[in-house]
Symmetry: none
Subunit: 159 residues, 2 copies
């Protein structure tokens, strides 16, 4: 498996440790020493990814001509706000309480797969957000079969 899929709710123990879902750890592949976590720009949640992915991001930043203020913005917000969290022997990370509380995470964390990255939510806030995005998807008339059909006009394969 190479992508982060599905979602899992795990407990935070009194030391602040949480098990990262085994399938997520498997998806990390080579750089499986830990993950990187930072506050999402859009949601009341944390974004997580592999260290390699963060480096990719930093390369992306250098490659394109971003406005200085945007560049500046991302450097402080992402790199300044991100935390590298190594796994312990059991595949757990210890989530800094400051990060957790900043997005309303308390005694449980929902790990939500988003292909190349994943998110960490307060489970209760996630269901609310999920309901909202579903209705938004309906409103915009998004459907997977349509997307696949549209894509297969360009490529031969499709999924």
């Amino acid at each position: 498996m190479a992508v982060f899929l599905s979602n899992f709710v795990n407990k935070i123990d009194k030391k602040g440790r949480v098990s990262v879902p085994a399938s997520f750890r498997a998806a990390l592949g080579s750089d499986a020493s830990g993950i990187v976590v930072f506050r999402s720009l859009q949601h009341e949640a944390l974004d997580g990814c592999s260290i390699g992915h963060l480096e990719l991001l930093s390369q992306s930043l250098e490659k394109q001509d971003l406005a200085p203020d945007v560049y500046e913005l991302i450097e402080t917000t992402i790199f300044g706000g991100s935390v590298q969290l190594p796994f312990d022997g059991e595949g757990r990370i210890s989530l800094p309480s400051s990060l957790a509380s900043s997005v309303g995470i308390e005694e449980e964390v929902a790990f939500v797969g988003r292909r190349k990255t994943f998110q960490l939510w307060n489970p209760k806030k996630l269901v609310a957000h999920d309901a909202a995005s579903r209705s938004a998807a309906r409103a915009k008339d998004i459907s997977l079969s349509k997307i696949i059909a549209a894509a297969s006009k360009f490529e031969n394969g499709g999924f």
Copy 2:
């Protein structure tokens, strides 16, 4: 770890000493005898980096055709205003009070990772700055996946 990530708030004792975060010291790698600090051009904060990085900076200055007055300005501001701060046995630096007070740092310092460099902030001013950055990011509708997606149009790879 090779980059400066995350942020840490440490105390300044009555002698003016502050612990440089252990992960930052690790990120310094080979030239880990100390750091270089100077006033940020953009913010009310101090910029910090390794000595090696400062040399890199000076080399890249020479390579580009800067106007003489700009060059002059940078020389005096950065190189003239920079201070080399060695570590003591416990990984602390003693921050000159003149530098600290010039950016409003008093009894605590926030070390903010910015990949190749880091910054030293008054913690309170940092949270204000951070909040401003975030709302700016939202206003501009910046998202990381967009940035990566945009970058991968230039490269062959994609993710």
